[in-house]
Symmetry: C2
Subunit: 287 residues, 2 copies
């Protein structure tokens, strides 16, 4: 594969994207914060299959981090990231500086109500406002035909779907399945924060979800009981501190009492100081 074109300014990225669109070529877009792993790679490869051109953005977006979160220490691995983009077949990488994306007096925000006052939105106030704002900016810069988001950030995916529809961006939002390590841990740029012992304990997330799936498949429907079962199993890890475990409607993200239709079993757990998330999307036939 040839090296992807590295774009550092909004102007050159717009120029590249508009030229491709005007030439009648479809654009697939994969927005990321870098520190790319096999999950990101699967998004880029999917975009590669479905579009004439693929552009990846790499931008650690300051506005989606809270004051006590890991913005400063978030891994920046641009050289390795460019290699992943190249191997996965990206044509271009947009990697702007923070000051290119946010002018000093920037003051416009995009908010999606209703979907953001639950799950990660509760423990990360302002997070989705930052996500929606930067994604709206990126959508306007790139104007892709399709944009690819992983299901690991299930709430983010749902929020972006709502924003895309409500603001008439007209982009096809393509959800992509969670990619896992061979032992089940969901891929995450934050996994590299874990010590070997924490890495072992971090399996409690996917294990709890697997148990929950088995319980649902065995006919259990009571959300509180399923949550209690997951809570108990995670609490057995000494360094695990549960942020939330919820079972919500996959569309509205409202808590459900019983598992019916398509639900999202979602959890956030701190292992030491590292906050990890994972989820299970499952559809239950009525009756």
């Amino acid at each position: 594969m040839p090296e992807p074109l590295l774009l550092e300014t909004i102007a050159e990225t717009k120029a590249w994207a508009r030229a491709e669109s005007r030439a009648g070529r479809s654009i697939g877009f994969v927005p990321t914060m870098g520190a790319l792993h096999a999950g990101h790679r699967s998004l880029i490869e999917r975009a590669r299959q479905e579009n004439d051109r693929v552009i990846v953005s790499i931008f650690v977006n300051p506005t989606q981090f809270g004051p006590n979160e890991d913005f400063r220490k978030y891994p920046r691995t641009l050289v390795a990231d460019l290699k992943v983009c190249e191997q996965a077949g990206a044509d271009a990488v947009f990697s702007p500086e923070s000051k290119e994306m946010y002018l000093d007096d920037a003051r416009t925000w995009v908010d999606v109500g209703g979907l953001t006052d639950t799950l990660c939105g509760l423990s990360r106030p302002g997070h989705f406002r930052g996500v929606c704002t930067v994604v709206a900016k990126l959508f306007n810069i790139v104007r892709p035909d399709r944009a690819y988001f992983g299901r690991k950030d299930a709430q983010q995916l749902r929020v972006i779907e709502a924003m895309n529809r409500d603001l008439n961006f007209g982009i096809e939002i393509v959800p992509c399945d969670i990619v896992r390590e061979s032992d089940g841990l969901a891929m995450s740029s934050r996994n590299r924060y874990l010590t070997p012992e924490q890495r072992r304990q971090a399996l409690c997330l996917s294990h709890a979800l697997n148990r929950c799936r088995a319980s649902i498949q065995a006919g259990h429907r009571d959300a509180l009981k399923l949550i209690a079962e997951m809570t108990e199993s995670i609490r057995q890890q000494p360094d695990a501190e549960i942020d939330y475990i919820q079972i919500v409607d996959a569309d509205t993200l409202k808590d459900v009492e019983r598992v019916e239709g398509t639900v999202l079993v979602a959890l956030a757990v701190k292992i030491g100081t590292t906050r990890l998330i994972d989820n299970l999307r499952i559809t239950v036939d009525p009756g």
Copy 2:
């Protein structure tokens, strides 16, 4: 002039606009709430001069009206409006139903902070959120090269400029001068609410601004004194009730103590139950 193409759905408007863009033709866009007057006409004519294609939107946007405002009684005059669009040279008119623009579970909002907590933003909470949201939607639907806004809604213009820049729409926002009746009253769709007696009293807005301009040109710089002078002159009208009279920096919209650089002298006055706005943009050389 041929009749403009009447577009009622988002899908057909997008299809029209994308086809024009793909063919390499520039698009000028004039967003309106209908009840078109000579001010709107001047926007359309300007767009006609500067673009290959001109599209006007006519949509009385419910989300920018407060609960006690005039959404229900706002004039709807589509047949006459289409005639104005035709005479001014518009190629297309996008006139959607409310349910086409806002789905029942719409929940995404665009907010511009800082510029909206003053002037009309204070007496019309939520107004600019509604304006920004609908304009962001319209920008995404039409994707114009240029969009035309009147200086009569000076705060709206400034807020849209900020949104356009911050969210990277990349549209050229073209400000257009206020168009006035021969006696000085600024054109407004709401002027038709006025009784003949109120119409006479409504001149107090432009008269006050003219006096203010004369005072500034005579060397007066003290904002509070200039405001007091305008307040006194408007209070002489029995049906006039002042909402605000402010002198603000034209860029930040912050109140100034002294007239320096480019300022906006802006006022909102109720004449009976009709709220009217007007403003004067004036630049003073330093020294």
